[in-house]
C-alpha cells in the first residue's frame, strides 16, 4: 500500500472513488497506488477507507476496462471469476478464524453514477487494513534482531499453518505481503498478518490459478519452479512452495535479502535457471543443496543468537530444502500423506521466539 508515482492510465469508475461513502458506511478517503509486486490477482484499485474510528482497505473493480479488450467476454469471465474467488477465499479464512490472515469485512456493489448507468457499477471488496509491510519495517540499523525475526516468523508461520489447515496454499509469500497490524493491545510489538490472497490455490476447490506454471512472483518462488518443475503431489507442489517462501522471509529478516537472490550467484553458470536444459534431477539437486547450505552458513548463521542458532538453522534447512519432496518438517514428511508440517514448524519457531525473548531479558538484566 505504498504511495508512489506510476504512469498515467485512462480513468474508469474504479479510479474515481475517492470521497465516496459505500452503503455499508465506509468512506473511501485515499486512493493507494500500486506497490511492487502487487499481483493482487485482480485488476483492482486500492483505497484506504474509514468508518467512525475504524480503517479498512477496499479493493475496487470495475468492468469497463475489460470491455475494451480484444476478447471482452473472456476478459469479463476472468475478471469476475478472479474477484469472486478472492472474495470467497477471504470470507472463508475469516469464517475459519484464521487470526494471522487479513480479515474479510464485507463486499458490496456500488453505482458511481446512479443505477441508470450500468457501466459505472463497481465491486468493492472490504478487508482489514494494515499499517505497513516488512520492507518498510526493516530500517535504521539494518536487519531485524534475532528476537524480532523470530516474532515475525512466529506470526507468518502461524498464518501459513492456518491456511494449510484450511486447504489453501498462498503461493505468493514475500515481504510486501507480510503486513503489520496494531490490533493486539497485549503485545508491545506488532502483529504480522499475511495479505493478498489473490493468487491462492485451494485443495478442494478449483480456482483461476490452478493451471498456472507459477501463480506468484517468480523472484520469490522455490527453486524447482525456476526450472519449470511442478511436482505432482499437492504437498510437494503447493504447501512445500509456501514453506520455501517462509524460509526466504527468514533470510530477508536476518540479512535484508531474500534467499533466492543469495542462492542464484552461487549456482555455477551451466546450472543456472534458463541455462540448465536437464531435468530436476540428482545432478541439479546436488548443486542446489550445496548453494543453499553455503548461503545459510555464511549469511544466516552469523546473525543468530548463539544459544538458539542450531534450532533456527535446522528450521531454515527444513524450510529451504531445494528438494520439494523433502522440504518441511522431517517428522511430518514421514507421516501418511507426507504433510509439509508447517504447524509443527510454527510450534518450533514459537518455542524459539520465547527462548530468544527470555535470553534477551536475561541479557538486559545483567
Amino acid at each position: 500500500m505504498s504511495v508512489i508515482s506510476s504512469p498515467p492510465i485512462a480513468k474508469t469508475p474504479k479510479h474515481v472513488m475517492e470521497g465516496v461513502t459505500l452503503h455499508s458506511g465506509w468512506t473511501l478517503v485515499e486512493q493507494l497506488k500500486p506497490s511492487t509486486g502487487a499481483s493482487g490477482g485482480t485488476f483492482g484499485v486500492g483505497y484506504r477507507a474509514t468508518r467512525g474510528g475504524e480503517t479498512a482497505f477496499v479493493k475496487v473493480i470495475d468492468f469497463v476496462e475489460a470491455l475494451g479488450k480484444p476478447d471482452p467476454i473472456l476478459e469479463l469471465q476472468n475478471l469476475i471469476g478472479n474477484a469472486s474467488f478472492e472474495k470467497e477465499v477471504l470470507a472463508y479464512c475469516t469464517e475459519r478464524g484464521m487470526t494471522r490472515v487479513m480479515r474479510f469485512l464485507g463486499h458490496e456493489y456500488f453505482f458511481t453514477n446512479g443505477p441508470a448507468d450500468l457501466m459505472g457499477r463497481v465491486s468493492c471488496l472490504i478487508m482489514e487494513a494494515g499499517e505497513t509491510d516488512l520492507r518498510r519495517l526493516m530500517h535504521g540499523n539494518g536487519p531485524a534482531s534475532c528476537l524480532q525475526t523470530l516474532q515475525v516468523m512466529d506470526d507468518v508461520s502461524l498464518a501459513l499453518a492456518q491456511l494449510h489447515r484450511g486447504g489453501i496454499a498462498h503461493q505468493d509469500i514475500k515481504p510486501s505481503n507480510v503486513i503489520s497490524v496494531a490490533e493486539s493491545p497485549l503485545r508491545a510489538d506488532r502483529t504480522m498478518k499475511v495479505a493478498d490472497l489473490g493468487r491462492v490455490v485451494r485443495r478442494e476447490q478449483t480456482g483461476p490459478f490452478d493451471n498456472f506454471a507459477w501463480p506468484g512472483d517468480l523472484r520469490y518462488s522455490p527453486p524447482e519452479r525456476w526450472y519449470g518443475h511442478v511436482p505432482t503431489d499437492w504437498c510437494d507442489s503447493r504447501d512445500a512452495s509456501d514453506a520455501y517462501m517462509l524460509g526466504s522471509i527468514l533470510l530477508f529478516l536476518s540479512t535484508g535479502t531474500p534467499i533466492q537472490a543469495l542462492v542464484v550467484p552461487l549456482i555455477p553458470n551451466q546450472y543456472r535457471p534458463g541455462v540448465w536444459g536437464g531435468s530436476f534431477d540428482d545432478d541439479l539437486l546436488g548443486v542446489l543443496v550445496d548453494a543453499h547450505a553455503r548461503v545459510l552458513e555464511d549469511h544466516l548463521k552469523p546473525s543468530l543468537m548463539p544459544e538458539i542458532a542450531d534450532g533456527v538453522m535446522q528450521i531454515a534447512n527444513e524450510l529451504t530444502n531445494p528438494d520439494p519432496v523433502r522440504r518441511g518438517d522431517g517428522r511430518a514428511r514421514r507421516q501418511i500423506g507426507r504433510p509439509v508440517g508447517l504447524d509443527r514448524i510454527h510450534q518450533k519457531i514459537h518455542a524459539l521466539a520465547l527462548r530468544a525473548a527470555a535470553i534477551q531479558r536475561g541479557r538486559l538484566k545483567s
Binding site: 505504498s2 508512489i4 508515482s5 506510476s6 500500486p34 506497490s35 511492487t36 516488512l134 520492507r135 518498510r136 519495517l137 526493516m138 530500517h139 535504521g140 539494518g142 536487519p143 514475500k174 515481504p175 517468480l218 523472484r219 520469490y220 525456476w226 519449470g228 530477508f252 540479512t255 535484508g256 535479502t257 531474500p258 533466492q260 537472490a261 543469495l262 542464484v264 550467484p265 555455477p268 553458470n269 551451466q270 546450472y271 543456472r272 535457471p273 534458463g274 541455462v275 540448465w276 536444459g277 536437464g278 534431477d281 540428482d282 545432478d283 539437486l285 546436488g286 548443486v287 543443496v289 550445496d290 543453499h292 547450505a293 545459510l296 552458513e297 549469511h299 538453522m313 535446522q314 534447512n317
Partner: protein, 546 residues
C-alpha cells in the same frame, strides 16, 4: 635414481567440486530451455522508486530480489552501487551481495574487503576442513561438500574417513554423475580399481552417459577386466548425434587408447581426433602424455584453449619443453587442484631433487607419503635422498618396504640407489658393481632408456663424490644418452648444465594434422577437410597443384 611417473589413464579427475561444476563433464547435453526467465522492468522501476523514497534496507532488499533475472542485473547493480557510494542504510549481506554481483559482472570491488584469513600456524588443509565440517554439521545431506571433505581427508592420509565421506555422498546422491565419477576415482586412489570399475559398470546411468562409459572403459583397463561398454561406446559415438563434441571427448579418448592397444592405429587416430575436437583438461593431459604414440599435432585453437586450463597438461608440456620454472609453477597449481594425488608431488619432489634442493624435495615427499604412504615413486625418491645423505639404515628401511611390495620390478632402482650410497661412503668399487647390476637389469627388461638414465645418475654421482674414474663413467653415460635420450634425463641435464654431457633433444617426428585447409583456385574457395592427415602433411593444400 628416481622413477618416472606411472602410466596415465583416462580415469575421472577429482578436482575441487567448484571447479568440476564449471566443466562440461558436470553439465547436461540437453539444450537450454527456450523460455527465458525475464523480469518485469516496470516492477523494478517501481521498487527503485520505493527505495529512493524510503531508503530502508528492506526496500533495497526488494530491489536486490530482481537480481535473479539476468536481464535486470545491470539496473540492479546501478542502484546497488548508488546505495554503497551514497552510504545508504544497507546490511552487511546486502553490501557483500552487491559487491559479488558487481565482480561477477566484470567490475571492480565496490567495498573494502578484509584480507582473506590465512592461518600460518596450522596445516593448510585445517581451515578448509573446518569450514566443510561446519557446512555439513548444519546440512549433513550436502553430497558435494562431502566430496570436497573426502579429498582433503585423502590428502592428509585419512583414507578411512575419506571412504566414509564418499559412501555417504553416494547414498545421498546415487545418480549424481560427479559423485559417481569421484567415488570411482577415490577407489583407484586407494588401490581398489576393481571396486571402481564395478561401481561404474553396474550403475544404471552408465548405458546412456558418455562420461560414465568413458570411465568404465578406462577403469576396466586399469583393473585388468573386460570392458562392458567398449562396443557400446563405439556405437554410441556413431548413433548419438544430440551430444556435442565436448560431451564425447573422454569417451572418444578412452576408445582411442583401446584401439591403440589392440593395434588398430588408424581407428585409434580417428577416435583421438574426435576426442580432440573439444577436449577437457583430463583429455588434453592424456593427449600430451601420449603424443608420441598418436603422432598428432596438438595445435588447434580448441586444444590450446584446453591446454591453458589444464595444469597437469601444462606440467607435462613444460617437462617436455625442459622448462623447470614452468614445471614448478604448474605442478604446484596441479597439486592445489588435486591435493590427494601423488603425481604432482612426485614431479615436484623430483624437480627439487634434480635442482639439488634436497630439503624441499624431502618436504614434498613427506606431504605425498602422508596421502599415500605406499606410493612407489615417492619412496624411490625418499630412498635416493637417504642414500645421498649417507643415511644407510633409513635407506635400507625404505628399500625393504619397496622390495617387499614390488619385488623384481623395483630391483634395478634399488641397486642404483645402493650404488649411490656406496659412492657417498667413498666405496667406489662396491658402488660401481651395484650401478653395473642396475644397468644390466634395465637392459634385461628391455628398457635401454632407463639404463641410460641410470648411467647419467651414476655419472653425476661420480662427479659429486670425486670418483677416480669419473671421466670414463661420464663418457659411457654420454654415449648411452646420445642413443637413448629421454625427457627425464634431458631435464636433469638442463638443470645440472653439465658441459661434458651435452643436451641432445630427441628428434621430433613429423606430426599428423587433425584437419587441412583446401584451397580451390578455380572457384576461389577455401574449405576444411576433417580427418587425420598423413605425417608431415601441409596445413593448406591447393587443389589441382602437383
Amino acid at each position: 635414481m628416481k622413477s618416472s611417473l606411472p602410466e596415465r589413464r583416462l580415469i575421472p579427475k577429482w578436482r575441487p567440486v567448484a571447479t568440476t561444476l564449471e566443466s562440461p563433464e558436470a553439465g547436461t547435453h540437453k539444450a537450454a530451455p527456450s523460455q527465458i526467465l525475464s523480469g518485469d522492468k516496470d516492477e523494478l522501476e517501481r521498487a527503485i522508486a520505493n527505495w529512493k523514497e524510503h531508503r530502508t534496507p528492506g526496500m533495497l532488499g526488494e530491489v536486490l530480489s530482481f537480481s535473479v533475472h539476468p536481464d535486470l542485473l545491470p539496473r540492479v547493480l546501478d542502484v546497488g552501487s548508488e546505495a554503497i557510494h551514497s552510504r545508504a542504510d544497507l546490511t552487511i549481506v546486502q553490501a557483500s551481495l552487491i559487491n559479488d554481483l558487481s565482480r561477477s559482472n566484470g567490475e571492480s570491488n565496490l567495498i573494502d574487503l578484509p584480507p582473506p584469513f590465512i592461518a600460518t600456524d596450522t596445516h593448510p588443509f585445517q581451515e578448509p576442513i573446518r569450514r566443510l565440517r561446519n557446512l555439513l554439521r548444519s546440512r549433513p545431506d550436502n553430497a558435494l561438500a562431502l566430496l570436497d571433505l573426502a579429498q582433503l581427508q585423502a590428502a592428509i592420509g585419512k583414507t578411512g574417513s575419506a571412504e566414509r565421506s564418499i559412501r555417504m555422498a553416494l547414498n545421498l546422491a546415487p545418480n549424481n554423475r560427479t559423485v559417481i565419477r569421484t567415488a570411482a576415482r577415490f577407489y583407484v586412489h586407494v588401490d581398489k580399481p576393481d571396486q571402481a570399475h564395478q561401481l561404474v559398470r553396474r550403475h544404471q546411468r552408465t548405458p546412456a552417459d558418455p562420461w560414465l562409459m568413458a570411465s568404465e572403459i578406462a577403469l576396466a583397463d586399469l583393473a585388468g577386466a573386460e570392458s562392458g561398454f567398449l562396443s557400446k561406446g563405439k556405437r554410441f559415438l556413431i548413433e548419438q548425434h544430440s551430444f556435442s563434441a565436448a560431451h564425447l571427448t573422454e569417451l572418444s579418448g578412452a576408445i582411442a587408447m583401446e584401439e591403440y592397444q589392440a593395434g588398430n592405429l588408424k581407428r585409434a587416430r580417428d577416435a583421438q581426433r574426435r576426442a580432440l575436437l573439444s577436449p577437457n583438461d583430463n583429455m588434453i593431459a592424456q593427449a600430451f602424455e601420449n603424443r608420441s604414440r598418436f603422432g598428432i599435432q596438438l595445435e588447434t585453437p580448441q586444444i590450446l584453449n584446453a591446454l591453458a586450463h589444464s595444469h597437469e597438461a601444462l606440467v607435462l608440456k613444460a617437462w617436455m619443453d625442459m622448462s623447470p620454472d614452468q614445471v614448478e609453477h604448474h605442478a604446484q597449481a596441479w597439486h592445489a587442484e588435486e591435493s590427494f594425488s601423488s603425481r604432482p608431488i612426485q614431479l615436484l619432489s623430483t624437480l627439487y631433487l634434480f635442482k639439488g634442493d634436497y630439503s624441499m624435495s624431502e618436504r614434498w615427499i613427506s606431504a605425498g607419503l602422508l596421502s599415500d604412504p605406499l606410493d612407489r615413486g615417492l619412496q624411490i625418491n625418499q630412498a635416493f635422498l637417504r642414500a645421498r645423505a649417507g643415511q644407510g639404515q633409513e635407506m635400507a628401511a625404505v628399500l625393504r618396504r619397496l622390495r617387499s611390495r614390488h619385488q623384481q620390478e623395483i630391483e634395478p632402482y634399488a641397486k642404483a640407489i645402493e650404488g649411490l650410497y656406496e659412492y657417498a661412503q667413498g666405496r667406489f668399487d662396491a658402488g660401481d658393481q651395484l650401478y653395473g647390476q642396475a644397468v644390466d637389469q634395465f637392459m634385461q627388461i628391455r628398457r635401454p632408456d632407463l639404463a641410460a638414465y641410470c648411467q647419467l645418475f651414476r655419472a653425476l654421482a661420480s662427479s659429486d663424490f670425486k670418483h677416480p674414474q669419473e671421466a670414463e663413467i661420464t663418457a659411457k653415460a654420454s654415449s648411452a644418452l646420445s642413443e637413448y635420450p629421454t625427457f627425464d634425463s634431458l631435464m636433469l641435464l638442463t638443470i645440472r648444465a653439465q658441459a661434458d654431457l651435452p643436451v641432445k633433444l630427441p628428434v621430433d617426428q613429423a606430426k599428423r594434422r587433425l584437419s587441412q585447409l583446401i584451397f580451390d583456385p578455380e572457384k576461389n574457395t577455401l574449405s576444411v577437410k576433417h580427418g587425420v592427415t598423413s605425417a608431415g602433411a601441409k596445413a593448406v593444400v591447393i587443389k589441382g597443384a602437383k
